[in-house]
């Protein structure tokens, strides 16, 4: 039997939790490295290529429908790769392989959490979303309800999620560029902000999708090569790789089993819920279900997404172990104190050098940076759609907005979001933002997911119930995160956290669902009667797709 290393000191525990959360989107502070021209030129090639795609996409982006959903003309396979691309962020590539490098098995537990939301989306949401919606998830949530309150809620939820996610990505981009290209922080934020504006402004969903597909392909190819090279050194015998890693790693055989990842069962369950249901509530992911022409293609896209994401996490696990064996033993990758040059998140990058030399290192660095670019483009597009489609066209114009006016508002919003993201990215440079991605997942799980779920599946849900419950979930998730360790202690500097658990999801999701249920059954208004009467027609359409819009035109 294994004997556990019980003597982990508190600071190591915090470091572990920090890295694990960091895998979601924050890479922490990094030191600037020497300028890496190979990586910069490869990234430049990527940018030029994607700008050509944007030019082509621009010729196909004339209407609001084309801007939001590429006219519904993306196939299931393409959309699956794009969803996988939205999900495989630079931080999950570098962060999860770093988590495996540091703690072994714990990295696997973390990546499994990110994966298990997908089947649930497939079984309960994907086709219903496709059958009921057109451009944004609010189309689905507000299908039978009074438009204004639900749309205002959905747009608030979307913008809050997008804002936190976007800041985390921007700060990550700035930290990465120092590390990978050896350039200044602010330069990265400006480059990412401007390129993402160009993609979204001119190419809309078509360009965003193709940038995402190309990047997903490059990342999967690069990670496959690394895993292959690592396994090849051990004659494709994983046992030999693990044996060598156990021999080298400071924690010895503890890396082959669960360690400090889970502090208490409540945190474990709560964190698992945030990951599982947060995935089903992220606006930029949900929006992808409207880019395919039918429910059948929507299903296929989640299947492909699940397959690619699962494969990617298997690769990161091998890459992490590969880094233990090939990177931690090589003094060339170590600093004076024995840590990794540039920090632990560099494990995968150093491994790229170890297995493929300088050119491959440049390639992986360029892909890591391109990844951030693709993810922020998707986020910005979903934020812009929430403003132009949900707020402008539906709430202010009561559904009477002309397509070109609506498109104009999307583009203005894109520019505003781009500028705000750049400013906030620079403002948050020195801040500890580890909580931001976890907060985005918690809000998605506690606000957007419950509203969507209840609106589609529960007959007695009403406008009032959905709006109040949704906001309750949102406020609870934000409030509990504020008083948890990641903000209360790490950002605000208080001594002890008021909320003791890693993730608020268990409590905030409960608040959201109970709120929706309670305020719906208590709702005896005239509007509630209309809401409930509308369920039959909604259900028929959600189940059969009869009356739903097909490919293009909408």
């Amino acid at each position: 039997m294994i004997t556990f290393q019980r003597g982990l000191c508190a600071s190591t525990l915090y470091a572990v939790a920090g890295t694990v959360w960091a895998a979601g989107g924050d890479l922490g502070q990094m030191q600037k490295q020497p300028t890496n021209w190979t990586a910069i030129s490869m990234f430049a090639v990527f940018v030029v290529f994607t700008l050509f795609i944007t030019k082509w996409a621009a010729s196909k982006t004339k209407s609001a429908a084309e801007f939001y959903t590429a006219g519904g003309g993306i196939t299931g396979f393409q959309n699956g790769l794009a969803i996988a691309g939205d999900y495989m962020s630079a931080a999950s590539f570098l962060g999860i392989s770093a988590a495996v490098y540091l703690n072994g098995y714990d990295g696997l537990i973390y990546s499994i959490g990110f994966l298990v939301g997908w089947p649930v989306i497939t079984f309960l949401m994907a086709e219903r979303l496709r059958n009921l919606g057109r451009f944004t998830f609010a189309d689905v949530a507000a299908y039978r309800f009074q438009q204004t309150p639900i749309r205002v809620f959905a747009a608030s939820g979307t913008l809050v999620v997008v804002a936190f996610y976007l800041i985390a990505q921007m700060v990550g981009a700035g930290q990465l560029i120092k590390l990978l290209f050896g350039l200044e922080y602010w330069l990265a934020v400006v480059i990412v902000g401007s390129l993402m504006m160009v993609y979204v402004l001119f190419g809309g969903m078509t360009a965003t999708t193709w940038v995402q597909i190309i990047k997903a392909g490059l990342l999967l190819a690069g990670a496959s090569f690394m895993a292959f090279m690592v396994l090849a050194q051990f004659r494709f015998n994983p046992e030999a790789l693990f044996a060598k890693a156990v021999e080298i790693h400071a924690k010895k055989d503890a890396i082959m089993g669960p360690g400090a990842f889970i502090k208490d069962p409540i945190s474990a369950i709560s964190f698992g819920m945030a990951l599982m249901f947060g995935t089903a509530g992220l606006p930029h992911i949900l929006m992808r279900f409207f880019t395919v022409p039918s429910a059948k293609e929507a299903r296929k896209s989640v299947f492909w997404a699940t397959t690619w994401i699962a494969y990617f996490y298997l690769l990161t696990f091998i890459i992490g172990f590969g880094a233990i064996v090939l990177v931690s033993t090589n003094p060339a990758y170590k600093d004076a104190l024995g840590g990794l040059l540039g920090g632990n998140n560099m494990a995968a990058i150093h491994l790229a050098n170890a297995v493929g030399g300088n050119v491959f290192l440049g390639f992986i660095s360029a892909v890591a940076f391109a990844t951030i670019l693709a993810v922020v483009a998707g986020l910005t597009l979903s934020g812009a759609s929430a403003v132009s489609h949900d707020l402008y066209a539906t709430v202010f114009k009561k559904g009477q907005a002309a397509s070109d006016k609506e498109l104009g508002v999307s583009r203005i919003t894109t520019v505003v979001l781009g500028i705000v993201a750049v400013i906030l990215g620079i403002a948050f440079e020195k801040q500890n933002i580890a909580f931001m991605v976890s907060l985005a997942f918690a809000i998605a799980a506690s606000a957007t997911f419950p509203v969507l779920f209840m609106a589609v599946l529960w007959k007695d849900c009403t406008t009032r119930g959905a709006t109040i419950g949704g906001f309750l979930g949102l406020i609870t998730a934000v409030g509990l995160t504020l008083v948890s360790k990641s903000v209360w202690v790490d950002v605000l500097g208080h001594k002890d956290a008021i909320f003791p658990y890693t993730s608020p999801a268990l409590f905030s999701m409960t608040a959201g669902f109970v709120g929706i249920w309670l305020f719906s059954i208590l709702d005896r208004s005239e509007r509630a009667r209309i809401d409930r009467a509308g369920y039959a027609a909604q259900k028929v359409r959600s189940e059969t797709g009869i009356g739903a819009s097909g490919a293009s035109g909408h």
Binding site: V116, F123, D264
Partner: protein, 101 residues
């Protein structure tokens, strides 16, 4: 959608068959996924010794195949649902369409 079309679809036996079959299937698979994942998380929380126990004489622990199983299970269960839905459920939907429209 017009009131009478909704009623025509609702009273169509094939529609009832579709809704009943798909919803019970969807919930069944959701339940299985929940059991697999939260079972695994509970094992991580309470059964660390089991996951850290080695298989045979090498360094390989039970945790590795069990973790891989959860990953493969996730992909497989999604594939199984999509496979059935893209045949059976879509066929039924097409029949309903042709009968009511």
């Amino acid at each position: 959608m017009e009131e009478d079309l909704v009623q025509r679809i609702e009273s169509n036996p094939k529609y009832r068959q579709l809704v009943a079959a798909r919803s019970s299937y969807g919930w069944l698979l959701t339940g299985m996924m929940m059991v697999a994942y939260y079972g695994y998380i509970l094992l991580v929380a309470f059964g660390k010794n089991l996951l850290s126990a080695t298989i045979g004489s090498g360094v390989m622990t039970w945790g590795i195949p069990i973790g891989l199983f959860v990953i493969v299970f996730t992909v497989a269960i999604t594939g199984i649902y999509v496979w059935r839905a893209n045949r059976e459920f879509d066929d039924l939907t097409a029949q309903i369409r042709s009968e009511v429209l």
